[in-house]
Symmetry: C2
Subunit: 173 residues, 2 copies
Amino acid sequence: MTGFALWFTGLSGAGKSTISELIYERLKATGHKVELLDGDEVRTHLSKGLGFSKEDRDTNIRRIGFVCELLVRNGVIAITAAISPYRDVRDELRAKIPNFVEVHVDCPIKVLAARDVKGLYKKALAGELGHFTGISDPYEPPLNPEVRIDSSSETPQQSADRIWSKLEAMGLL
Amino acid sequence: MTGFALWFTGLSGAGKSTISELIYERLKATGHKVELLDGDEVRTHLSKGLGFSKEDRDTNIRRIGFVCELLVRNGVIAITAAISPYRDVRDELRAKIPNFVEVHVDCPIKVLAARDVKGLYKKALAGELGHFTGISDPYEPPLNPEVRIDSSSETPQQSADRIWSKLEAMGLL
């Protein structure tokens, strides 16, 4: 089987985890070797102690990339769902990891702030949260992602279906 | 293919890297999916910033274990060659990782001190190096490793051959 990396990137609350879980479950159900490295799981197992400076965020993303590379080159599908805000590190990983498929889960800040599932946007917009990506910390959107999703205008299931079609069109499924 | 973890443990200079590389090359040459996570490589990619307290060493070993588990459950052979001095963490990983094969590369301290490839044993024995495993820091040998090697009494090639035979006997090759 062909390994590939399905690399989600986007702001907190945009839908990365929800969509990536839908894809993960469908891949599992269809007999693929697949691992989902969610941002929170990775922070626990690989990156405890790291903070939110650019340097620490880059270290976190490079570690996820290191694990992805090990999986992908052994024929496993690796899905990641960390914010991964910086373009240069994502592009560094794209150059290293075979079959790197970038999915930008985009959503307007005002929609995220209205949903505000964890109550973080309200605090960040009030200036009470430092290093909050998209508000008090940078987010650099991909320039040419394989898939771009606007999660304010389609359901997670529609997004997952579009990603699946793209993977088929790329010959990865 | 069946994945398994080949977990080397032993003092610095005992021969873990040399023997693990022989096994890695033989597995590669015979068409197996295999990754070698050497102690130094892992310190660079997964554990930069960690020190040598028990807590930090345990974190380092758990991270290697996390990556091993991802590989093994996807049918990949994961070889690790870190000192991994503490028995409790090794046993914790044994309980989590399928097909965990522990190899203790043993060697008397006086032989290691006589070889002293990196000049570290001289310094440690003179009391100039803190946290040096086996001298100023604990090393807890496995009680029931799948393979025990005394690298003062056989060549790396002989050790690698014995490990290979054990893996065959266990039905893993």
